[in-house]
């Protein structure tokens, strides 16, 4: 787990800051970005193994960031986060390029388990 390098992307700065602190306490190398543009810059400068990506953000949204990651570095695993209470029938498919999605608020143990699954996946 110590070798995991994870980028958390969400415009809710306090959410990603706190989550990053908790992941660091568990030995995970977590960094943050609070908008899509900053996320892409961070990925370009220091590619993580995994990106936890909020779908709905001002400016460049999560799905646009996901498209960019797919184009530039498809090896990076992406887990989407959504604040929606439920996923509509139409949205049940995980968007291409994403490993899976989680609904906020998320349990940290569930998140870490999902991260493990993503990083173990081929």
């Amino acid at each position: 787990m110590k070798s995991w390098k994870v980028l958390l992307v969400d415009d809710e700065e306090e959410f990603v800051t706190t989550l990053a602190e908790r992941l660091k306490l568990r030995g995970i190398d977590a960094s943050i970005a609070t908008n899509g543009k900053a996320a892409l810059a961070s990925i370009g400068a220091d590619p993580p193994h995994l990106v936890i990506l909020d779908v709905l953000m001002p400016g460049l949204g999560g799905l646009a960031v996901l498209d960019q990651i797919r184009t530039t570095d498809p090896k990076i695993k992406v887990i989407l986060l959504t604040g929606r209470g439920a996923i509509h029938e139409d949205d049940e498919r995980v968007p291409p390029g994403a490993f899976d999605y989680l609904i906020k608020p998320v349990n940290i143990d569930d998140l870490i388990e999902k991260m493990r699954e993503a990083l173990d996946a081929p």
Partner: protein, 226 residues
């Protein structure tokens, strides 16, 4: 309720509940972090009192934020269930302002409310009034580019409430007095509000000020109020 009104209210409820989930997510992570820190203490690791204070403050701030969001939603829900037929100019403005903050944030537009010092009462169907005002704000937000600014400035004067929504540089300075004669035709996005404005005794004046858009929603005040 008309389909368009229902859709607007649905969008607002979706936005506020989404925001509330963000608040809960922050509270959840913050309380989880406190637990993490306390577990470290059990392992003889000295917890950082400053860090605990910071996290506790974060929780308090998020509870206040969540409370504001729910209060705004509660105001709208009560207006609907009580079929409220009167509202203060400032109350109507702050209700719309609080409920539309998220949309402004997503559009990356600064949204400011400048309440009036001379509050007064409007006698009309509050839900319909809210719908008209929210539609006007939504229109301005849609037209305003990212990093722009929208100002909602209510005013009560000479038996009328004037709710001015100004975008771009039109939002600067004092409220401009406008009458129907000053306005141009309503843009297509707002044209079908006409059928609601009449029964409310309201008028909507649209002006493209060159430096931004101005919308003036003009409503009669309760008789005897100036």
């Amino acid at each position: 309720m008309e389909t368009r009104e229902a859709a607007m209210i649905g969008r607002l409820i979706a936005g506020i509940t989404h925001e509330t989930k963000n608040v809960l997510a922050i509270i959840k992570e913050s309380s989880g972090l406190l637990q993490d820190i306390l577990r470290l203490k059990k392992r003889k690791d000295v917890p950082n009192a400053e860090q605990i204070e910071k996290v506790a403050s974060r929780i308090k701030a998020q509870v206040a934020r969540g409370n504001e969001q729910l209060a705004a939603l509660n105001w709208l829900a009560h207006s609907m269930s009580d079929r409220s037929s009167s509202v203060g100019v400032n109350e109507l403005s702050s209700g719309a302002f609080n409920l539309m903050q998220r949309l402004a944030r997503l559009k990356q537009v600064e949204f400011e409310l400048q309440p009036t010092d001379d509050d007064a009462t409007i006698d009309a169907d509050v839900v319909r009034l809210f719908f008209v005002l929210a539609t006007c704000i939504e229109y301005c937000l849609e037209k305003e580019p990212a990093k722009g600014r929208i100002v909602l400035r209510p005013k009560a004067s000479r038996g009328e409430a004037i709710l001015k929504i100004a975008s771009g540089s039109a939002g600067e300075g004092q409220a401009t007095e406008r009458t129907e004669a000053d306005g141009g035709p309503l843009p297509p996005e707002l044209a079908d509000l006409e059928s609601i404005l009449g029964p409310l005794g309201a008028k909507l004046v649209f002006a493209d000020a060159g430096v931004g858009t101005e919308l003036h929603l003009i409503l009669p005040l309760r008789k005897g109020e100036t």
